[in-house]
């Protein structure tokens, strides 16, 4: 796609948005042309979400102009945005899972005769619409019966059907597996060919390079520039996003490699023999040593989280034996695990981890306080001390312990969650998808932190959908497929993403991995 000859369908100039104490957007320009996929890039807190919320009418702007199809518009709310031809599919699927697929696509604009909804027409049109997106599902089933990936496609189908002008896809791929991403991209290309302008946000650089024509980079609420994707090498893009050299990332690479070799001689902290739970994960054996990083690799839904939850007692195992420090234990609930020095940082930081209305300090203190018992409150001075230390160590931004956590970006929320568990000084830290949906810089910092912790003797069970990340950090990798631990690999020469992918794809059970 060359420099577009057509006029932009959307033109934003000098957009300014101020929140109490923060300038979220400072004179940002943004253009979107028909028939292009335009990536909006930036670290967490760069202003991407704010820009999108401005565009969808969730936030009102404090300055600047928005031109849609050449006319100046004021987007008063989500409904107004939809009417103007801007539809959005958010990071978390914003549909009503209690309603049927068909209804989710048409709710609010159902075809009617004399006020009576024509369900037959709705079902038929929904099925046709999804078929165009290569999706053959029962449209009269509740949305909750489908996976997140399908829910996402349904959200896109709705967005596309509402308006053919501008579609915003905010992190649509963050929870999809590779084939689902491919399917999504097919849909996007088709829309592009129809002249739809697509605004795409993703943290996966490869995806950006595969699908986008142009990109706009934001940093700290300011416009860094607009580029053609093909003309901007990845390294330069990342540097523009984080505003510094990539030294941090590369330093990490060496460190992880260096520490990979040790650990074999260390004593085991946790041993699982034939531990399993019906419907969640088949019985598995797994040993985690002191100072060892064990990575769990596998596709979405392969049982990664389920395995981790068993080891923390968040779910109860119904078969097998678990021992910690050589002594058999029954993890009835997380409290028992916590007392034994196991910490679990959850995958859903919004729903299961972070308490948005509490301050950074309160969120960090939470687990330690729980471990001590509520009858022995931690003195305020001690709290401030600990919190300050970890805010600094983990570079939580803004470095204000009293700010409500919900005002922090995703990456920083993740760090707060990590800090919460780190201050309990666990011996085994289980982290589930710590880097999902956070930016490159924060990702590198968290990876670095994991490597350092393991160097310090902490055992880490690292769960991630990104193979590269698992490979970079782990001493040992457990591969899961279809809720079964199929192979355990010592990381080293000969073990790479391809090798693991093959294991997952062939699904062959290595000897001794399962009962």
């Amino acid at each position: 796609m060359g420099e577009p000859t057509t006029k932009p369908v959307l033109e934003m100039t000098g957009i300014r948005k101020v929140f109490p104490g923060v300038v979220a957007l400072d004179g940002v320009d943004f253009r979107l042309f028909p028939g292009e996929v335009h990536a909006l890039m930036g670290e967490n807190g760069a202003g991407k979400s704010t820009l999108i919320k401005v565009l969808t009418g969730v936030y009102d702007i404090d300055g600047g102009d928005i031109l849609l199809g050449g006319d100046e518009v004021h987007i008063a709310g989500p409904l107004a945005a939809q009417k103007a031809g801007i539809s959005t599919v958010y990071q978390e699927v914003n549909l009503c899972t209690n309603l049927t697929v068909a209804e989710n696509i048409f709710i609010g604009r159902e075809p009617r005769t004399f006020g009576k909804i024509r369900w037959g027409v709705i079902r038929k049109r929904a099925a046709e619409l999804l078929e165009r997106l290569d999706l053959n599902i029962d449209v009269s089933a509740p949305l909750s019966t489908y996976s997140l990936a399908i829910q996402q496609m349904v959200a896109i189908a709705r967005a596309v059907d509402i308006s053919a002008r501008v579609v915003i896809l905010d992190e649509p791929t963050s929870s999809l597996d590779a084939s689902e991403v491919e399917q999504l991209f097919r849909v996007m290309r088709r829309l592009k060919a129809d002249g739809v302008a697509i605004l795409f946000v993703s943290h996966f650089l490869d995806q950006i390079y595969e699908i986008s024509d142009r990109l706009t980079v934001l940093r700290n609420g300011q416009l860094i520039g607009e580029y053609r994707t093909a003309e901007l090498p990845q390294v330069q893009l990342v540097e523009k996003m984080i505003g510094k050299e990539l030294a941090t990332l590369e330093g990490l690479e060496d460190k992880a490699l260096r520490s990979r070799t040790k650990s074999a001689a260390a004593e085991p902290i946790l041993q699982a023999k034939g531990v399993g739970r019906t419907g969640a994960i088949a019985p598995f054996d797994l040993t985690i040593h002191r100072g060892e990083v064990v990575g769990l690799a596998g596709l979405l839904g392969s049982g990664r989280t389920e395995l981790a939850r068993l080891l923390f007692g968040a779910d109860k195992a119904d078969t097998g034996e678990l021992s910690i420090d050589g002594k058999p234990v029954t993890l009835r609930d997380p409290q028992v695990a916590m007392r034994r020095g196991i910490a679990f940082s959850s995958e859903n930081r919004r729903t299961e981890g972070i308490i948005g209305d509490l301050s950074v300090r309160e969120n960090i203190i939470l687990a330690l306080q729980a471990a001590r018992g509520w009858t022995r409150p931690i003195p305020r001075r001690k709290q401030d001390e600990i919190v300050e230390k970890y805010i600094k160590a983990l570079q939580i931004r803004p470095a204000d312990p009293e700010r409500p956590v919900r005002n922090l970006s995703g990456g920083n929320q993740q760090k707060v969650l990590l800090a919460r568990w780190l201050i309990t000084e666990p011996r085994l830290l289980i982290i589930d998808e710590p880097t999902r949906g956070i930016d490159v810089g924060a990702k590198a910092e968290i990876q670095k932190l994991v490597a350092e912790l393991s160097d310090g003797g902490m055992a880490v069970l690292f769960v991630s959908a990104e193979l590269e990340e698992v490979l970079r950090l782990s001493h040992k990798i457990a591969v899961l497929r279809d809720r079964r631990l199929i192979e355990e690999l010592d990381n080293g020469a000969g073990v790479d993403a391809e090798r693991i992918m093959q294991t997952i794809a062939s699904g062959q059970t290595a000897s001794g991995a399962t009962s």
Binding site: V58, G108, I150, T278, G279
Partner: protein, 340 residues
């Protein structure tokens, strides 16, 4: 209750193996309502087996007559609960309506003016509470609790005594019987109550407003982002509930040809319990008016059985309802856990 155990766990396992495959769960959303229906049938059959004349059609028909007020109020409550809210004010709105109706009629106001006036008042009270709940983000529990005190206070302010009604229209309606068969007749109030159920069911199933109610109950945030009129809908459900409560009050004045400021206390709890027993999820987004109807009928059936038994204390109604509530809440828990 065996239906729950019959839900094969194996289907869940299959879903776990391949998350992309559609999970086949037979009629999960109908389980609570079917359980209530089964319960109702069991109660009815055991009534027939144990008591003479229980098999008369009038037993069933009278359920509607005796519970007309509760039924209408429960219909309104169903709308509110489907959005994930709650309306504690309905009992007080009933008492305000009965007192006001009786007072105005006693004062010689034309009945055809009084009727729309009190219904409008109920709807306005509901709309007011809905607006407070939505625009000031007040918990429905608190807002409608305030409404409860306000309405009950107003009723007591108007008159603390029972006020007889001698209006022609009211007494005519009160004495009127609609024949349904040779030995079976029913009252206009029962017809009104049943009509309310049918209208509500149609509105919930076939209108945008009805579907928006479900959407808000499913996820109010999503509903907003999908561009649905959340404010309007949320205010409307409380308006519907207020209107239904007022209508219930009117039905009461017709049944008893009197008004009393203490009438209707506790009805809000009966209505909520009926919804829950009928399978309406308290967190919103799932349930049917017909379920609520069944819930009310269970209520009525317990009373009928106690009547037929003759030597049972009427406190048994509450005890049984209490046990049933526990049972159904547990059932809902099981069903929603399966659905996750």
């Amino acid at each position: 209750m065996t239906t729950i155990d019959a839900t094969p766990p194996s289907t869940n396992q299959k879903a776990a193996v391949n998350p992309r495959r559609r999970v086949y769960r037979p009629n999960t959303k109908y389980i609570p309502i079917l359980a209530t229906l089964a319960l109702l049938i069991v109660m009815y059959v055991s009534g027939i087996a144990n008591y003479r004349n229980f098999d008369q059609p009038s037993v069933v028909v009278n359920l509607f007559r005796d519970n007309a007020v509760l039924l209408v109020v429960t219909v309104g409550m169903t709308f509110v609960i489907l959005t994930g809210g709650i309306d504690l004010s309905v009992g007080a709105v009933i008492s305000l309506t009965t007192t006001l109706t009786a007072t105005l009629l006693q004062g010689g106001w034309p009945p055809l003016l009084v009727l729309p006036l009190v219904l409008l008042l109920g709807a306005l009270l509901g709309a007011g509470m809905g607006a407070v709940i939505h625009y000031f983000k007040v918990e429905p529990f608190i807002a409608t609790l305030a409404g409860l005190f306000l309405a009950r206070g107003l009723a007591l302010f108007i008159n603390q005594e029972s006020i007889p009604i001698r209006d022609k229209l009211w007494t005519t309606l009160s004495d009127m019987r609609i024949p349904l068969g040779e030995h079976t007749r029913t009252t206009p109030t029962a017809v009104v109550a049943l009509s309310a159920v049918l209208i509500a069911a149609a509105v919930l199933a076939w209108t945008r407003f009805g579907r928006n109610v479900y959407a808000i109950g499913g996820s109010a945030d999503s509903a907003l982002l999908m561009g649905l009129p959340v404010a309007r809908t949320r205010i409307a459900v409380y308006t519907v509930s207020g209107f239904c409560a007022a209508l219930g009050g009117v039905l009461y004045t017709i049944n008893s040809t009197s008004g009393h400021a203490l009438q209707g206390s506790g009805t809000e709890l009966d209505a909520i319990a009926s919804c829950v027993i009928g399978g309406v999820l308290l967190t919103g987004g799932a349930g049917y008016v017909f379920g609520s109807l069944l819930g009310v009928l269970v209520y009525g059936m317990i009373g009928t059985i106690i009547n037929f038994q003759g030597d049972l204390n009427s406190a048994w109604t509450r005890i049984v309802v209490g046990i049933l509530l526990f049972g159904f809440i547990l059932l809902q828990r099981l069903v929603t856990r399966r659905a996750r």
